[in-house]
C-alpha cells in the first residue's frame, strides 16, 4: 500500500504493519515538506508480572515527518503516555522498534543511547513533579548543558537565561526561585525551557496543559507553537482534550486500549471521523455555545438514528481492563456498531482516504 502512494505525498503515515517492514528508512516516505524523522514499528509496552500483565501499548506503528505536529489522543489508560515515554526511551519497549532519524534506538549501547536521546526531549503533565523542588529555576534550566559539560558555567548560565527569557520567564527574579514558588504555568514554561536547551529535534509533550487553568492553557499552547516555529522541532503532542489537540496538531492519532484506531489530518479527523470511537470522542466535547448543544458530527448520518444517541451511549461504559483486553477489535465492547466479526478478528489499519487511516471493520460513512 505504501509503495503505491505517490512519492510526493506529505506526512505519509504508516498504514499496515506489513507496509513498513518492506520499506527501508528514508525511501518512499520523503515527502514535499519534510522527511521522516520518527518511525515507530510494532511498538509493544507491557509491564507487571506474567499473570497480571498490563498491555499498555499493543502493536502501534506510525511515522512522523520532520517539522510536523502529531496529536495523540485517547482516554486515561489508552497507552498514549506510555507510547510517548517509549519513544523517548525513558521506558524501554517490550518489543518493536523506534527509529529516530533512521537509527534504531533500541539497538544502541547505553552510552550511545544517552547521547542519541538528547535529540528527543519531553515535557510532562504534572508541573510540580517535573521540576526538582530543591533546585533553583536557573540551575534546572542549565542542567542539560551541565550534564554534557557544554561550555563554561558562565556560558551555561547565559544560555539558560536567554532560554528562560524566550519562554517568558524573567531570569533575574524568577530564575533564582525554587519550583514551589512558581505557578503551574510558570513551571511548565521552565520545563519547556529545560527541554529545549539541548536543541532537540523531537519534543514529546505528555499532556503539558492538562493540569493548567484554561486561560493558562492557551498561553502555553501559543508558546509551544511560537517556539516550534523558531526552533523548527517536530512535536508529538499527547492529550486527552480534543479541542486542545486540534488547535495545535497537523495530524491526529487516536488511541484506544493500547491500539491505534485512527490517524488523519486534524481537520479531516474532526469533520469526518471514520472510527466510531473517534466520533464518540468528538461528540463528547462540550460546546462553548449553549444554544448549539454538544457537537454532533453523526447527527442524521444514518436514517433512523436519533442524533448522537447510540454513540454517546457507547462511551458511558467503562474502559475494559488492559489486563484482559477484549478479543478482536478492542473497542467492540463499547461500540454501537459491533458485529460478530469484530469479536473474531482484529481490524487491520487501512487507508480509506488520502492520509486517512482507520482500524475498523465498519468505518462510518460520510
Amino acid at each position: 500500500m505504501e509503495g503505491s502512494q505517490p512519492a510526493g505525498t506529505p506526512n505519509q503515515p504508516v498504514g499496515t504493519p506489513t507496509g513498513i517492514r518492506n520499506q527501508p528508512a528514508g525511501t518512499g516516505t520523503e515527502g514535499g515538506n519534510g522527511k521522516e524523522i520518527l518511525r515507530v514499528e510494532h511498538l509493544v509496552v507491557e509491564y507487571g508480572p506474567r499473570r497480571r500483565r498490563v498491555h499498555a501499548v499493543s502493536d502501534v506503528s506510525f511515522l512522523m515527518a520532520e517539522g510536523e505536529t502529531l496529536g495523540l489522543v485517547g482516554e486515561s489508560g489508552s497507552g498514549k503516555s506510555t507510547t510517548g515515554r517509549a519513544i523517548a526511551h525513558v521506558q524501554p519497549p517490550t518489543s518493536g522498534h523506534v527509529y529516530f532519524d533512521g537509527i534504531d534506538l533500541g539497538g544502541l549501547s547505553t552510552g550511545r543511547l544517552r547521547r542519541a536521546r538528547t535529540q528527543i526531549q519531553m515535557v510532562f503533565q504534572d508541573p510540580i513533579s517535573s521540576l526538582n523542588p530543591r533546585r533553583r529555576v536557573r540551575d534546572i534550566v542549565a542542567e542539560p548543558l551541565a550534564i554534557w559539560n557544554t561550555g563554561t558555567a558562565a556560558q551555561r548560565a547565559q544560555r539558560a537565561a536567554a532560554m528562560l527569557e524566550a519562554v517568558g520567564i524573567d531570569p533575574v527574579t524568577v530564575g533564582q526561585r525554587r519550583p514551589q514558588q512558581l505557578s503551574g504555568g510558570q513551571c511548565q514554561r521552565v520545563s519547556i525551557a529545560r527541554a529545549l536547551m539541548l536543541e532537540p529535534r523531537l519534543l514529546v509533550c505528555d499532556e503539558p496543559v492538562s493540569a493548567l487553568d484554561v486561560s493558562v492553557q492557551a498561553q502555553i499552547l501559543n508558546l509551544l507553537a511560537d517556539l516550534k516555529e523558531q526552533h523548527g522541532f517536530t512535536m508529538l503532542f499527547i492529550a486527552h482534550d480534543l479541542a486542545v489537540v486540534k488547535s495545535i496538531s497537523d495530524r491526529v492519532a487516536v488511541m484506544y486500549l493500547g491500539k491505534l484506531c485512527e490517524l488523519a489530518p486534524a481537520d479531516t479527523l474532526y469533520d469526518a471521523p471514520l472510527h466510531p470511537y473517534t466520533a464518540a470522542l468528538i461528540s463528547s466535547v462540550p460546546s462553548p455555545d449553549p444554544e448549539r448543544g454538544p457537537r454532533t458530527p453523526l447527527a442524521g448520518r444514518t436514517a433512523g438514528m436519533a442524533g448522537t444517541g447510540p454513540v454517546a451511549a457507547a462511551l458511558a461504559n467503562e474502559v475494559p481492563s488492559p489486563l484482559h483486553p477484549p478479543s478482536g477489535c478492542r473497542f467492540r465492547t463499547r461500540c454501537a456498531y459491533a458485529a460478530t466479526l469484530c469479536a473474531r478478528e482484529e481490524p487491520p489499519m487501512r487507508q480509506l482516504a488520502p492520509d486517512h487511516f482507520v482500524a475498523c471493520h465498519f468505518p462510518l460513512a460520510h
Binding site: R85, A88, V90, R114, R115, R117, T118, I120, Q121, M122, F124, Q125, D126, P127, I128, S129, S130, L131, N132, P133, R134, R135, E143, P144, I147, W148, R177, R178, Q180, Q181, S183, G184, C187, S191, R194, A195, L198
Partner: protein
C-alpha cells in the same frame, strides 16, 4: 512569593550551641584547665560541687567535670561515628535500591533483613563479649547494626522521588545514574535523612549507656557517660553522693534533647511544602 521556609527559632540555636559546646569541650579536653579524669584527690572524696571541683568528686576523689568532659569523647565518637558509618553505607545502598528498584532493590533489601533479624542489643553484647570492647570496635559494631535502619528510611524516601517526572527528565537529558542520584535525589533525601540520623545519634548514646551497665562499654578506668552513671549507681553511691550519677545523666539528657530538637527543626525547615498549587 518569598521563601516560605519555617524559621528555625531560638530554641534551635540554643540546642545547636549546646551540641557544639559539648563537641568542642570533648575535642579540646586536653587543653582545658581541668585535672586528669583519673587523678585522685584524696583530700576531696565524694564531695559536692565546690570551687575546687566545680561538679564535685566521686568516691575515688576523681573530678566529675573532668570525667564528664572526657567521657563525652566516648559517647560522641560512638554516637556520631557509628551513625556516620551507617549513613555512609546504608544511605548509599538506600539511594541505589530506591532508585533502581527491581532486582537491585530485592537483593539489598533481603540483606538488610538479615541484619535486622538479629535483636540489636543482644547481637552487640555477644560480639563485644567475644571480639573485645575498644572504642573503635564498639563504633564499628554499632555502626553495622545501624546500617539497615538508615537504609530503610533512605530507601523509602528515595522511592517517593524516584518516579517523579524530574528524574525521567534527567534521564531523557542523558544524565548518568550517578549524576541523577547525586544531583537530583540526594538533595531531596538528605534533610529527612539527617534529621533521622541525629535521632539515631541520641539512640546510640543511650545504647552506650546500656552497654556500660552490662560492663560492655569501653574498659575502665576510661570514663564514658555510661560508665560514670554505672559507677554512680553502684556501691551505694546513689545514697552517699547522688551527684556522681546525676551530672552525666543530666549531660546525656540535655544532649539527647538538643539532638532531637535540632533534627526536628532542620527537617521542618527544609520541608518543601508542595501543597501550594
Amino acid at each position: 512569593m518569598g521563601e516560605s521556609r519555617r524559621p528555625l527559632g531560638a530554641l534551635f540555636w540554643v540546642c545547636l550551641a549546646f551540641i557544639v559546646l559539648v563537641i568542642l569541650a570533648a575535642a579540646l579536653a586536653n587543653f582545658l584547665p581541668i585535672p586528669s579524669p583519673t587523678a585522685q584527690d584524696y583530700a576531696a572524696i565524694n564531695t559536692g560541687p565546690s570551687l575546687h571541683h566545680l561538679l564535685g568528686t566521686d568516691d575515688l576523689g576523681r573530678d566529675l567535670l573532668s570525667r564528664i568532659i572526657f567521657g563525652a569523647r566516648v559517647s560522641l565518637v560512638i554516637g556520631f561515628g557509628s551513625i556516620a558509618i551507617g549513613l555512609l553505607i546504608g544511605g548509599t545502598l538506600g539511594l541505589l535500591a530506591g532508585f533502581r528498584g527491581g532486582a537491585t532493590d530485592a537483593v539489598i533489601n533481603a540483606g538488610s533483613f538479615v541484619i535486622l533479624a538479629f535483636p540489636p542489643l543482644l547481637a552487640i553484647v555477644v560480639i563485644v563479649a567475644f571480639w573485645g570492647r575498644s572504642l573503635w570496635k564498639l563504633t564499628l559494631i554499632i555502626g553495622i547494626a545501624a546500617i539497615p535502619q538508615l537504609f530503610r528510611v533512605i530507601r523509602a524516601s528515595t522511592m517517593s522521588y524516584a518516579n517523579r517526572d524530574f528524574i525521567t527528565a534527567a534521564r531523557a537529558m542523558g544524565a548518568s545514574t550517578r549524576r541523577i542520584i547525586v544531583r537530583e535525589l540526594l538533595p531531596n533525601v538528605a534533610p529527612s535523612a539527617i534529621s533521622f540520623a541525629l535521632v539515631g545519634v541520641a539512640v546510640v548514646i543511650v545504647l552506650e549507656g546500656s552497654l556500660a551497665f552490662l560492663g560492655l562499654s569501653v574498659s575502665l578506668p576510661t570514663p564514658s557517660w555510661g560508665n560514670i552513671i554505672f559507677e554512680g549507681a553502684s556501691n551505694n553511691n546513689l545514697q552517699l553522693n547522688p551527684f556522681i550519677a546525676l551530672w552525666p545523666a543530666l549531660a546525656m539528657f540535655l544532649l539527647l534533647t538538643s539532638l532531637n530538637i535540632v533534627g526536628d527543626r532542620l527537617r521542618e525547615h527544609f520541608d518543601v511544602r508542595e501543597g501550594g498549587l
